[in-house]
Symmetry: C2
C-alpha cells in the first residue's frame, strides 16, 4: 500500500487573495422572515451567520471524504485558515448530488443496470440534483457572489401553466387541460360575485360601516372582474378565453386547492434562483479555488481512528491500486447511505444514528426537445404542469435560455418508485413520461430528441438522493465530534435537501475542528 496516489485533477489556477476575500465582509444573519413552508417539506432557516475564524495551522492535516458541496466548502474554508487539506472523491468529477447533466455525461445503473450516455446538444443541460436556491439562503448565495457565479430567476409557477386531473370522478374538468389563470380568475370571480351580491342584498352583516361596506364591494368588483352594475363575474381578456367554467365544476376538479392568494401555487419562498449555466458550476468554482488538493477517482475503503490520528484507505478506481492517507482529523462528507456501509470505527451512538438514517428515492429525467413548443405554442416560460395524477411528479419547463431553439424539459421529478419505474427499463420510463405528458402537450413525441434518466437510488457512490431530515436528537448526535471524525454532509443538517444544508453542516464542521485545534 502506497501513500498519496498521484492526483488526477487538472491543476486549477488558484484565486487571488483579493478574490477569495471579496464579499466576506457582507456575511451575517439575514433579517428576512422565512417561516415554515407548508409544501416544501425540508425548507428551513438559512445557515447564517457564518463563523468568523482566525489563525493559521499549516501543521494540522485534515482529510475530507467526498467532494460534494459540503466537502468542497470545508476544504475551501480550512484552506483559508492554512490547514493542510486533502479531499478524496470517488467520482471523476466534483459535485456529488449537485450534478448538472450535459452531453457526454454517462453512468451505469447499480445492480447490473443499463448504461446511458447523454446525447444532449452543446449548451443544453438540466440539474439532476439540487436545482433551486431560495432568495433567503444567504450562505450559498454569498458563496456564489464570492466565486463569481451569476444567478437568474427560477420560475416556480406561472399563471400560464396547465393543471390536469385524470380522475373521472372529478367532474367536468377531468381529463381537460386548464390554465392556472383560468382557475384563478374564475374561482375569485365566482366567489367575489357570491359575496358582493350577498353584501348588496343585505344577506350578510359584515362588521363594517356603510361606507366601508361600499369599499368592500368595490374591492370585490375590481379583484374579481365583476360587472359593477349587476355584480356578475365577466371573465377578463387576460384570462385567455371568455368562456368561464362553472363554479361547481371548478370545485369538483379539486384545482382550487392548488391556488393560494398569496404564494401562487407551491407555497415556497418567492423568488428562488438558479446559477446561470447549471448548479454544478458552483462546485466547479470551489474546486478551481481549492486547487490540487482534490484527488478524484479515489474510493474510500476503510476509515480507522486512533487517539492520535485518522487513517483512510482508498482505492484508485482506474487501477484498483490501494493507497492510504493519515491525517489529524477527518471530515466525512460521504452520503449517509454510503457511510452506513463503510468500515469505520465510529462510537456506537454515532453508528446507530448513521445506520438509522433514511434517504429520498427521488429521480429526474431530462428530455431534449427539438423546439421550445411550450414557449412558442403555449406562451409558457417556466413553472410546472400541476397534475399529480399523471405520475410524472414535478414536470418543469426551463427557466433559462428563453426563446432559443431547443430546450431540456424536466419530464419527471418525483419518487423514482412511482409507477414501478425504478424496476423498468430506461426506455419504458421514457415512454411513460412521453405518454403521460402528451395528455397536456400533444407535441411531446414529435418534438422529442433524447432523454437522460437519473434515478438516484441506482447511482453509484450516492445510492439515494438527499437524506431525510434527522430529528433533533439525531441531529445533536450528528453535530458532535466522534473522536477525530466529523460528519459534514447536508444529511447532518436541518436542511438535507438544500444547498444551504450543506453550507450549514460544512460551517459547523470547520468551526468545530478549528476551535479544537486553536485550544490545542
Amino acid at each position: 500500500m502506497k501513500n498519496h496516489k498521484p492526483n488526477r485533477i487538472a491543476s486549477f489556477s488558484p484565486m487571488t487573495r483579493r478574490q477569495v476575500l471579496q464579499g466576506f465582509g457582507m456575511l451575517g444573519t439575514s433579517s428576512l422572515m422565512m417561516g415554515a413552508m407548508s409544501a416544501w417539506d425540508l425548507m428551513g432557516e438559512p445557515a447564517g451567520p457564518k463563523p468568523i475564524l482566525q489563525g493559521t495551522h499549516p501543521d494540522t492535516k485534515v482529510i475530507i471524504l467526498g467532494a460534494g458541496l459540503s466537502g468542497l466548502i470545508i476544504a475551501y474554508e480550512l484552506g483559508k485558515l492554512g490547514y493542510d487539506c486533502r479531499i478524496l472523491e470517488a467520482r471523476n468529477q466534483v459535485g456529488g448530488l449537485t450534478w448538472t447533466v450535459r452531453g457526454g455525461d454517462s453512468h451505469t445503473e447499480l445492480g447490473g443496470g443499463e448504461h446511458q450516455v447523454c446525447k444532449y446538444d452543446q449548451d443544453l443541460y438540466f440539474n439532476a440534483g439540487a436545482w433551486r436556491i431560495p432568495n433567503a439562503d444567504k450562505g450559498i448565495i454569498d458563496y456564489c457572489a464570492e466565486l463569481g457565479i451569476s444567478l437568474e430567476l427560477f420560475v416556480n409557477s406561472s399563471d400560464a401553466n396547465y393543471l390536469y386531473q385524470e380522475d373521472p370522478s372529478k367532474g367536468q374538468l377531468a381529463k381537460k387541460k386548464v390554465r392556472l389563470r383560468e382557475i384563478k380568475a374564475d374561482l375569485w370571480g365566482s366567489t367575489n360575485e357570491l359575496l358582493a351580491k350577498a353584501l348588496d342584498q343585505g344577506q350578510i352583516d359584515a362588521p363594517l360601516s356603510e361606507e366601508d361596506n361600499e369599499l368592500l364591494i368595490e374591492f370585490l368588483v375590481n379583484s374579481g372582474y365583476l360587472d359593477s352594475a349587476d355584480y356578475v363575474y365577466r371573465p377578463p381578456a387576460i384570462r385567455g378565453s371568455q368562456e368561464r367554467y362553472d363554479l361547481a365544476a371548478l370545485l369538483q376538479s379539486g384545482f382550487g386547492n392548488s391556488v393560494r392568494s398569496l404564494v401562487r401555487v407551491t407555497g415556497g419562498p418567492d423568488p428562488v434562483f438558479q446559477p446561470i449555466g447549471g448548479m454544478q458550476k458552483i462546485c466547479f468554482a470551489f474546486a478551481e479555488a481549492i486547487g490540487d488538493s482534490i484527488i478524484l477517482g479515489s474510493e474510500v475503503q476503510k476509515i480507522t481512528q486512533t487517539d492520535d490520528a485518522v487513517r483512510v484507505v482508498y482505492k484508485d478506481t482506474e487501477t484498483g491500486q490501494e493507497y492510504e492517507e493519515t491525517a489529524d482529523y477527518c471530515a466525512c462528507c460521504l452520503p449517509m447511505s454510503i457511510l452506513k456501509k463503510i468500515n469505520i470505527n465510529l462510537s456506537p451512538e454515532m453508528a446507530t444514528v448513521v445506520a438509522n438514517s433514511e434517504h429520498s428515492s427521488s429521480a429526474k429525467m431530462g428530455l431534449q426537445m427539438k423546439r421550445r413548443f411550450w414557449e412558442e405554442d403555449d406562451g409558457i416560460f417556466g413553472g410546472h404542469i400541476f397534475g399529480r395524477s399523471l405520475q410524472i411528479g414535478e414536470f418543469s419547463y426551463p427557466s433559462n435560455d428563453y426563446f432559443t431553439k431547443k430546450g431540456i424539459l424536466l419530464g419527471f421529478y418525483a419518487d423514482g418508485t412511482i409507477a414501478d419505474l425504478e424496476n423498468r427499463p430506461i426506455q419504458e420510463r421514457i415512454d411513460h413520461v412521453l405518454q403521460q405528458a402528451s395528455k397536456v402537450h400533444p407535441q411531446m413525441r414529435e418534438e422529442f430528441e433524447s432523454a437522460y434518466c437519473v434515478w438516484w437510488d441506482k447511482i453509484k457512490y450516492s445510492e439515494g438522493a438527499y437524506s431525510r431530515r434527522p430529528d433533533d436528537e439525531a441531529l445533536a448526535q450528528l453535530s458532535k465530534a466522534d473522536g477525530r471524525i466529523y460528519l459534514g454532509s447536508a444529511g447532518a443538517s436541518k436542511r438535507p435537501a438544500w444547498l444551504e444544508g450543506a453550507v450549514a453542516s460544512a460551517w459547523r464542521t470547520v468551526e468545530s475542528i478549528h476551535k479544537r485545534v486553536e485550544q490545542g
Copy 2:
C-alpha cells in the same frame, strides 16, 4: 454642398449570411391571446406575421432618416433585398428612444439647460427609454434570437413590494409602508372569512349542491388561510408578520384596487423580458449587421421630393458642413415631434396628421446605489413601489445582476411635468426623488452615489418620449406612401410606446417600398 460626407461610424464586421438567415423560418403569427391590457395604455397586438419578400434591387436607393429601432430594421431588411441603403442619424450613436444610459454618457438639456455626465460604475446601466418586452411580441423577440441577444425576465411586480399612501384621509394605513403580500393575504383572508361564515350559517344561498357547498368552503379555507374549525383568517407565516390589518383599514387605504387575483398588480402581460446588458444592445447588434451605411452625426435640414427622387440636405454636427443625398425613396423614421418642425414637402393630408401628433412627456431617473439594500434588507428582487401619491411614478428595482454589490434603481418613471420637476434644476429633481423614496426606504440617502436624469422633452433630436397612439384615420394616413416618402417610426403604428410598434411600422414600410419597386 458636397455629396456623402465621410462616415463617422466604426466599421462593424458584417454578419455571416448564415447568421443573418438563422431563425427566419420561425416567423409567423402568434397563436397567443393578448387582448386589451387595462393598465398598459398603449399595449396591443404583436406586429406579426412578418412579410416574406423576395427579389434583389441593387439599383434602387433608399435613404433612411433616423437610426432608432425602426430605421435600423428598415435598413436591415432592405439590405437583405439588395437595396442601396443609407441611414442618416443626428446623434453619435444609434438607438433613438432605445437608450441604455451608462457611465460616460452625457447630454445637455434643451432650452439652455444643464449638462450631465453619467458617473455610473462600469457594467451598471438603466434603460432610459424602452425597457420591457411582452412575451407575445414575436417581432422584436425573433430579432433578438436572430441577432444573438439573450433575454431575461423582467419582474413587473413582486409580493415583497411595498405599497405606500400619503393621503391622511386614507385611514390607519396612510403613511405606512405595507407589503403587497400582506395586503393580498389579509384581503383574501378577510373576504374568504366573511363568505365562509355566511355559507356555513346558511345566510347565503349559493346555487350549489350541499356537497359542492362544502367544497366551496374548503376552497375558501385553503385560499384564504382560514382556520378550518371556526373559519377565522389566521395570517400565514409567509405573510411576513402575524399581525393582520383590520379589514376596514385595508379598504380605506385603497390598496385593494392595486390587487387583482389573476394579473397580480399591473394588469400587464406576464411575463415580460429585457435584453441582458440593456435594451440598446438590440440597436447596436442591428448596426453591426447593417455595417457602414449608417452615417452618424448627420442632422437632417431639409427633405424635398420630386416625381423622380427624394433629396435630403443634412449637416455634419461636428463641422457644421452641409451635405446632400439623393435617393429613389425616403423612409423617414424621425420622431413626429421633430418631423413636424422640419422643412419637408409632404402632402397637405399627411402634413396635417404629423402636425397634430402628440407625444408623452415621460422622464426617467436612474440612481446608482452603493449597496442593493432592497435585496439585502428587504428581500425585494424586482418590481416597484406602489405609491402614486409619492409623485415618483413607477419607482423600480432592477431585474438583473441580482446579489451583486451595487445597482441602479429607477427612482423616477413618470410624466416629467409631475411636481413641476421639468422646470426645476437637476439637483432639485434628484432631491425630490431621494426625499420621497426615503419614506419607503430610509436607506436612500446614505446609499446614494450618483444620478442621471432623462427628461425626454428636453432631449435634443427627441423633444418628447413616445408618440400618443394615432386614431384609426390618422394611422391610415400615416401608413400611406406620401409620394416617395414613407413614415416608418413607431409613432406611425398602433403601438407607439413599444419596440413592437417600431417593428410593425418598419415592416409595413419595407413591404410598401418593395412591392412598389417590384411592380416597376
